[in-house]
């Protein structure tokens, strides 16, 4: 439980199991609500299993596309940055956090996350490497969606 940054946080397995069960129950009844999808995704991106994290990312991407609520969109963008950083997809992580910082330049929480991502990259020996790959390009579409919602 001794975390240095939010990126090191991992979901308690019991919490993860609980979130999954609740989400499955909701899905069985029809379309799950944005709130319960987010709760599920949030738990999944803290899993030690990379496949769970990826499943969480898929949920967050879907929420970002479908949820009209502006306040919620910033949550999804933030946690997409967290999730990608946790599986070391740093270019995507930086892409998402920059989208948030473009909209809220003074957001301390977002700035702290960006620093954490950069220090994780330094730790992995990635600073200075050319990391702008296909990932950042793939983001462009989502950035547009996020920017439109700001009006």
């Amino acid at each position: 439980m001794d975390y240095g940054t939010i990126l090191e946080e991992r979901t308690n397995p019991a919490v993860l199991m609980n979130a999954r069960e609740q989400y499955m129950r909701q899905c069985a009844r029809g379309d799950p609500s944005a709130a319960s999808t987010f709760a599920f995704a949030h738990a999944m991106i803290g899993s030690k299993n990379k496949l769970d994290v990826k499943e969480g990312i898929v949920c967050l991407e879907k929420l970002l596309r479908d949820d009209e609520d502006r306040t919620s969109k910033r949550n999804y963008v933030y946690y997409l940055a967290v999730a990608h950083a946790r599986i070391k997809q740093y270019d995507l992580a930086l892409g998402y956090i920059d989208v948030l910082l473009d909209a809220e330049g003074d957001n301390q929480q977002a700035k702290t996350l960006k620093e954490s991502i950069k220090s994780a990259m330094t730790h992995d020996g990635l600073i200075g490497a050319a990391i702008v790959g296909g990932g950042a390009l793939a983001l462009a579409g989502l950035v547009a969606i996020f920017s439109m919602s700001r009006k």
């Binding site: 439980m1 939010i6 308690n12 709130a35 319960s36 306040t71 977002a110």
Partner: protein, 210 residues
């Protein structure tokens, strides 16, 4: 940032809860950075802060989870109650509605934390005396009825902020000392240093502060 980061005896996990806009993040920021954030956007999900404090000569690392007050993310923030050694429940003394919602926050805190969790009631924005909407005595009585420790604070001036976080730690430490908090039980929100692999790893290495 410069202090030896793993030099402490315990980690205590805290959560900060309460309505949107009562100043939870500002309290955390004032406590960890000793600065006031004037224009603070709504917290995204759950934020995290740490600070090492000292109680009875023991260094303790506080790991503080600051939860978003927005109702729609309650499912996420609820998962953070589990295993909290301390809960700071915050309302805004200038907005009665935030005080009126305390019973629902308290019900959550009592049902989702363990019986030993130290729950501290904070009336924030005490610097705005001329806009006061909740009398001190009323909140004090509510706290006494519910067995909570209570202080009015100001994240803006910093008044009483240290005390709220430190008093909570003292209570938790006291519970450890008198045995009412069993460190071997699950989800106490307290972790002694001997169980910290990272702490052991760093011993003897990079610990020279002379």
């Amino acid at each position: 940032m410069t202090a030896a980061p793993y030099n402490y005896s315990y980690i205590f996990k805290y959560i900060i809860i309460g309505d949107m806009g009562v100043g939870k993040s500002c309290l955390l920021h004032q406590f960890t950075e000793k600065k006031f954030m004037a224009d603070c956007p709504h917290t995204i999900g759950v934020e995290f802060g740490t600070r090492i404090i000292e109680v009875s000569g023991q260094k303790i690392k506080l790991q503080i989870w600051d939860t978003a007050g927005q109702e729609r993310f309650r499912a996420v923030t609820r998962s953070y109650y589990r295993g909290a050694a301390g809960a700071l429940m915050v309302y805004d003394i200038t907005r009665r509605s935030t005080y009126n919602h305390l019973s629902s926050w308290l019900a959550d805190a009592k049902s989702l934390t363990n019986p030993n969790t130290a729950i501290f009631l904070i009336g924030n924005k005490a610097d705005l005396e001329d806009q006061r909407d909740v009398p001190y005595e009323e909140a004090k009585a509510f706290a006494e009825e519910n067995g909570l420790t209570f202080l009015e604070c100001s994240a803006k001036t910093g008044s009483n902020v240290e005390d709220a976080f430190l008093e909570t730690a003292k209570q938790i430490y006291q519970n450890i000392q008198d045995g009412s908090l069993d460190l071997n039980a699950a989800d106490t929100g307290v972790q002694p240093k001997q169980n910290l692999p990272r702490a052991a790893e760093n011993n003897g290495k990079k610990d020279c502060n002379c």
